[in-house]
Every structure is written in C-alpha cells, then in structure tokens.
C-alpha cells in the first residue's frame, strides 16, 4: 500500500511553513465544524476527513476528492483549533504534484498558457445583448502589454514545476 510517511510529510510541511503559514493539522480534535459548513462536501471533498486521513498517512484515500475543494477558506476561518484544513489541502496538492501525481488537466493548461502568454488565457471575444461578438478593441479597452517573455519563461522553468523545493533558493 502506498502511504504518505510522516517523515516525508514533516519534511514537506517544514518547507511549507516558509511559504504558506504555520500548518498544524495535529491539533484537530475532529469536531467536523469545517465539513459542516463546507459546500465542497457536495463535490466529494470533506475537510475533516482529509485531516484525519493525512494524520494516518493514507495517500490514496487522501487523494480522493482532494482537487474538488473550492479553496474558499471558510474552514480555515471557522476552525476553533486553527488547524487550517484549506492550507493542509493546499499542501497536500503541492505534495501530490511533486510526487508526480496530478494536477488535473485544467491546471496544466493554465500553467502552459501562463508560460506562453503570461496570462491564464488570451483575450476572448464575448457576445453582447445584440448577439454581436465583441473584442477588447471593439469595446474601446486598451491593449494589454506582456512583460519580457524570454526572461519570464526562463525564470518559470527555473522553478521546478513538478517538485516543490526543487527549484533554486
């Protein structure tokens, strides 16, 4: 059985502390307040369950539904123990990606677009109430400039996209 070992988790959480916040899933006393106010439960992501599974180190079970969280941060605000379920979900997602699992396709496309265009997508035409398709230019909006893409792409590639902490420090 593939499991998340606690030593691996600790190492990752150590790194996370530099970049996210103080993560403290071990203070959770399973009151389920996070899940009782969570709309993502409808989509298969249950925060208190994720915390417990993570504490047990069960990778496959933790992975199930992990990408369905909306990251609305309500659980982080409402947790009486400040266990920060959303931050833990973020940390687990990063961990899974660094281990070569995921992310879902939409995230890959987004990352590729940022590398290509500097934004998550290119400007699109939109339909108005007269059923005409209109662009930024048609609407009198200024053209958006892009930064120096060559240096930008080099920097992006320097930050190892699959492994947190694998990039330059």
């Amino acid at each position: 059985m593939d499991t998340l070992t606690l030593s691996e988790a600790d190492e990752l959480l150590g790194k996370m502390r530099e970049t996210v916040a103080e993560l403290t899933p071990f203070v959770c006393y399973n009151c389920t307040r996070c899940s009782s106010g969570c709309l993502a439960v409808e989509t298969g992501c249950t925060p208190h369950r994720i915390i417990q599974l993570f504490r047990l180190g069960l990778l496959r079970e933790v992975e199930e539904g992990i990408w369905s969280c909306f990251f609305c941060l309500k659980c982080d605000v409402r947790c009486p123990q400040e266990a920060k379920p959303a931050m833990l979900i973020l940390a687990i997602r990063n961990l899974l990606v660094s281990r070569g699992s995921g992310p879902p396709k939409g995230y890959r496309v987004m990352l590729e677009n940022v590398e290509k265009y500097s934004t998550i997508q290119q400007p699109q035409e939109t339909m108005n109430k007269d059923f005409d398709f209109v662009s930024r230019g048609d609407l009198g909006l200024p053209e958006m400039k892009t930064p120096n893409m060559e240096v930008f792409r080099r920097n992006l590639r320097k930050i190892e996209p699959r492994l947190l902490g694998g990039g330059e420090r």
């Binding site: 996210v20 369905s68 941060l73 109430k129 909006l141 958006m144 930050i159 947190l164």
Partner: protein, 289 residues
C-alpha cells in the same frame, strides 16, 4: 487620488464589463487609474500546483507596482488575496525576499520590503478611501431595487492578514448599495462560495451550487445579485444557461451585476457605457438597454 491598477487575467481576457465599468466610473469620482506597464498572471490558481510558482508570479506584480509609488488597486478578488498574501509572507520571511529577488533581478525589478504597498480592492477603495458621503454626492438616479450582495470569499478570508471586510459579518457592500439608493439586507446564503475554485475539476457540480444560491436569492425576494469579483460574476451571470441545463431547472434566472455597474447606473451613466449589455443574465428586466 492616483492608484496603480493591476487588472489580472480574468478581467482582461473575458470579464470586460468589470474593467469597462471601473474605467467609466472611478475617474468621475476623482480616482486616477494608472495601469501597470504590463499585465501578467498573479499566480493564484497555480498556488495549488506549486507554491513557488505562485510566489514568484505574485512578487513580480508587487515589485512592478512598487516602481509606480502609488497605492495598488486590484479589482479581482483572487488577485487581491494573492498579492496581499504574498506581501504578508515576504515581510514575515526575509529569506523568501532573497529567493524572489534572485529571480526578479533578471527582469530588472525587485521587491523592496521597506516599501510595503497599500493594496485596495473595489469595495474598500469606495468605502474607506472615498467614503459613503462622496458616493452619495454623485447619485443622480437612485437604484430603487433590492440587491443580494455576494462579496466572494477571497476579499474576506483568511484572517492572518488584513482583508477588505470582516470575514463573518461584512457590511461595506450593503452600505455602498444603500448609499446608491438600493435596498440590501442579510440572507442566509450570503457568505457561501460560488465554487469557481473547482471549475477546472467539477464544472457541473459547481454549476449546480451556483444555481442553488441564485434560486435561494430569488426566493427570498431579491431583485438581483451584485458581485465584485470576476470569477463569481462569471459563475452567477455568464453561466446561467449552463446552470439551467445542469439543474434541469428552467426557473433559475436572476439579473446579476458588478458593483461598479450599479455605481455607474446610480450616477446616471448610460448602461452600455458600463458594459451592462455584456452581462448574460436577464439584466434587461431592471435596466433599459
């Protein structure tokens, strides 16, 4: 009052009505908008994949904005939390500043922790910088309808660093609506998320949840919903067709506006100049286009 303005991806590539209505209304209130020299992703959605990519992307926006020497206005909720959180972390952890500036130096910019930026969103710029009296003074056509305010999650949470309003009991948007001559009151679903964060993974489930909130708002007697986030607006306004298909409920239908569109309407500005003809929801029920 001069503000460096960072628009982000969503507003500049699809949610044009927000940009149009801000550019039309704010200068009339004495707010001078100075765009960044270039536009790029703030990194927020990519935080889920790799925190370092996010921190790099967010920091370069902060660094570019610091060169302008004005407060930074960020109308998108996602970009707002991204930049606020990145600045919070950079100020707390000097070693991260070193890492980020190592990358940014190749782009001839740097984040200076001695010059932290004041970062504002649409709501606190209107409420705290301009104030309700200033807003009331420009109202020519009071709104006259009842609005359900939807703040969106990321300008209210988390609580580790300053956000636009209280996480559990925000009031600023309602007070702005009242200043514009509209009616606004609390409702049980007010702080519920639009679900945009899972659109890449569970679009149908998200559509069903958006439909649930739209239906609740209508059932509670509101005439329309008002948002101040391009992702929320996209879910509640742009996707109403999809919501009806997914939920198989043809009754789900509600006008949804940007706060800045309503500001403009109350100022007496012609609706099309506010991009109201770009809204996909039935805004024509309340506004003559």
């Amino acid at each position: 009052m001069k503000y460096t303005t960072y628009w982000g991806c969503m507003i500049t590539t699809i949610e044009y009505a927000y940009e149009i209505s801000v550019r039309e209304t704010f200068p009339r209130l004495g707010v001078e908008l100075v765009d960044l020299d270039w536009n790029a992703c703030c990194g927020y959605p990519l935080m889920q994949v790799n925190l370092r990519i996010w921190l790099y992307l967010a920091s370069r926006i902060l660094a570019a904005a610091q060169e302008k020497d004005n407060p930074l206005f960020v109308p998108c909720n996602g970009c707002h939390i991204s930049l606020c959180e990145a600045q919070h972390l950079l100020l707390k952890h000097p070693e991260l500043v070193g890492w980020v500036n190592g990358l940014l130096s190749e782009e001839d910019i740097e984040f200076n922790p001695q010059k932290p930026l004041k970062i504002l969103h649409t709501i606190d710029l209107l409420y705290d910088e301009l104030g309700l009296d200033r807003i009331k003074s420009v109202v020519k056509k009071p709104l006259g309808f009842k609005l359900a305010c939807h703040y969106g999650c990321h300008i209210l949470r988390p609580t580790e660093y300053p956000r636009v309003d209280d996480a559990e009991n925000p009031v600023k948007m309602e007070e702005i609506i009242r200043a514009l001559g509209g009616e606004a009151e609390d409702y049980p679903e007010r702080l519920e998320c639009c679900g945009a964060g899972a659109n890449l993974v569970e679009p149908e489930a998200v559509a069903a949840l958006s439909g649930w909130k739209l239906k609740a708002v209508k059932a509670r007697g509101f005439d329309a919903m008002v948002t101040s986030c391009p992702a929320c607006q996209n879910n509640y306004d742009t996707k109403q067709d999809m919501i009806r298909q997914v939920t198989k409920d043809p009754e789900i239908s509600l006008p949804v506006f940007y706060l800045t569109q309503l500001l403009g309407l109350a100022m007496g500005i012609e609706p099309r100049k506010l991009g109201i003809d770009l809204n996909k929801s039935p805004v024509e029920e309340l506004v003559d286009l």
